[in-house]
């Protein structure tokens, strides 16, 4: 069997199954062997589930024999370890839940299982989707497949590393301030933060109720469309879940992007940006223009206030964790503990003002989007930083381009658009109007049809 099977797209793998060129059991065995070989150094998985994977693969094989054509049937996936999995350890990357085996299951895990996916295991997350995994932490940090001394991004670090290394074909992520898009950017893969309320958060550990989003991570925009199709939709168990009908994301990929209006906010998103990042991004804009998109610069005044997002995040996180923090603080990792405790230092008035400023930002972005269909920016101002920098408490929370779209809740796709001189990937993000995932996926897919950044593989 060719190594290429590790990196096929979801559509290609499904087609191979239906032509009987390869079987789900063969693919699963190949991936399990690859995980066994690569993961001891990569640390993408916190709990591999080989028995479950083979059982799912056999079930998929039987379904294929019956003529089942579901697009996610037999697709190997992994779940970020804040998604509850019935009967399978769910740690949240924390010593607090190091041995916890839930009997509940998150809605998204159930939906992907019902779609016929093969669960390869649970993927490491930064502690409670927020903390840094310092040396000596209960669970080791995932490494960046492009360079093991550099972070893979977080908090969906295992998802990013596993996809980049060809250990799974899709993964769940969560994004409160960039935790889907950051790993996508740093690992050279593609990740979608859907609209707030589009995908259920029921059964997913909370970080911040008004900022948390769940979504798919994959290697291409097309794969994200297939995976989103399998997870989107109303869920009464999540009070923020939208009742809007779910679009046909896969069908929408085929549409033209000619005439699509792409706005580039020139304030905020380019502060401190590396030259390599800016070059990759500007080249990507050139590709979008050749595809027929109309690219124009614009300014969103209040976006400069986005750093206040941290007040909302830590206040809500402290409310969620307060009881455990006060009674079992030793079970929280160093730095995470103090980060979340910062939420106790925010006054009630400051929290409300931060929410009011948030609405100002939403209003300004909505105004800007009257004249454009998509906003494009670099996903991160710099490529992945070395671990020793990321773990420095003085530099623990650098300025980021991603939180503005957690504040607004817009669907935002991060996808690779080049490489820095260091050999690390760089990325752009495309933000659409609320519930217009089809637009960003269509534009991202068109871009990837014209470029090959998403097909580059790390030296693992």
């Amino acid at each position: 069997m060719s190594d290429a099977v590790h990196y096929t797209t979801i559509r290609e793998l499904g087609a191979s199954y239906r032509k009987r060129e390869i079987s789900p059991v063969e693919v699963t065995r190949a991936l399990l062997a690859r995980i066994e070989k690569l993961d001891p150094a990569l640390h993408a998985f916190v709990t591999p589930t080989p028995d479950r994977a083979l059982a799912d693969a056999r079930a998929a094989e039987d379904a294929l024999k019956r003529g089942d054509t579901r697009p996610l049937l037999g697709i190997p996936i992994g779940h970020k370890d804040i998604y509850l999995t019935r009967g399978i350890r769910t740690t949240g990357g924390s010593a607090l839940f190091a041995d916890w085996i839930p009997y509940a299951e998150s809605t998204v895990v159930r939906r992907w299982a019902e779609a016929g996916t093969i669960m390869m295991g649970k993927l490491i997350t930064h502690e409670f989707a927020f903390g840094i995994q310092l040396p000596g932490h209960r669970f080791p940090a995932a490494k960046n497949p492009w360079h093991p001394d550099h972070i893979p991004g977080g908090s969906s670090s295992g998802s990013g590393a596993a996809l980049s290394a060809g250990l799974v074909h899709g993964a769940t992520g969560s994004d409160t301030g960039g935790s889907i898009r950051g790993p996508a950017a740093f690992c050279g893969i593609t990740g979608l933060k859907p609209t707030y309320g589009r995908c259920s958060r029921a059964g997913v550990m909370t970080l911040s109720w008004t900022l948390d989003h769940t979504g798919p991570m994959a290697r291409t925009a097309e794969d994200c469309a297939y995976l989103l199709q399998g997870m989107a939709g109303h869920d009464a168990a999540d009070p923020a879940s939208s009742t809007r009908p779910v679009d046909d994301y896969v069908a929408a990929l085929g549409g033209s992007v000619r005439g699509l209006r792409v706005g580039v906010p020139r304030n905020y998103f380019f502060e401190d940006a590396d030259a390599d990042v800016v070059r990759g991004f500007e080249d990507a804009l050139g590709v979008l223009r050749t595809l027929g998109a109309e690219v124009r610069d614009l300014t969103i005044p209040s976006i400069d206030l986005s750093r206040s997002f941290f007040l909302i995040l830590v206040t809500e996180a402290f409310a969620y964790h307060e009881q455990d923090l006060r009674t079992r603080p030793e079970l929280y990792g160093e730095m995470l503990r103090e980060r979340i405790m910062t939420g106790a230092l925010v006054t009630a008035s400051e929290y409300v003002q931060a929410q009011r400023v948030r609405m100002q930002i939403c209003a300004d972005v909505a105004e800007a989007m009257k004249s454009v269909d998509v906003l494009a920016t670099p996903t991160a101002p710099k490529p992945a930083t070395p671990f020793k920098v990321a773990c420095d408490p003085e530099l623990a929370f650098p300025r980021s381009n991603m939180p503005p779209f957690n504040l607004t809740g817009q669907p935002t796709l991060a996808l690779p658009c080049g490489f820095a001189g260091s050999g690390l990937p760089v990325s752009m993000q495309l933000a659409g109007r609320a519930f217009e995932e089809t637009t960003v996926l269509r534009l991202g897919h068109a871009y990837q049809q014209s470029t090959d950044w998403h097909t580059r593989r790390p030296p693992v």
């Binding site: 603080p329 106790a344 929410q355 939403c362 003085e394 623990a396």
Partner: protein, 66 residues
């Protein structure tokens, strides 16, 4: 600008044990996040009020982890 004295006062009021060697990190985190808010005249924030919403019609169901 958040001063170290103001930070210490907030820590005392909140009753959370933030060790001395992490004060600098917390000061930076909170100071950076508060800075844009302190630049804004809260009387001039213009969106529809109230920004923090509540829907009397629900849903009010709780969601447990298990």
């Amino acid at each position: 600008m958040l001063t170290i004295d103001e930070l210490r006062a907030r820590i005392a009021a909140a009753g959370v044990p933030i060790p001395e060697h992490r004060l600098s990190m917390v000061h930076k985190l909170l100071g950076d996040a508060l800075a844009p808010l302190r630049r804004v005249d809260s009387r001039k924030v213009r969106p529809l009020e109230p920004a923090v919403t509540f829907d009397a019609a629900g849903p009010h169901r709780g969601v447990a982890n298990e």
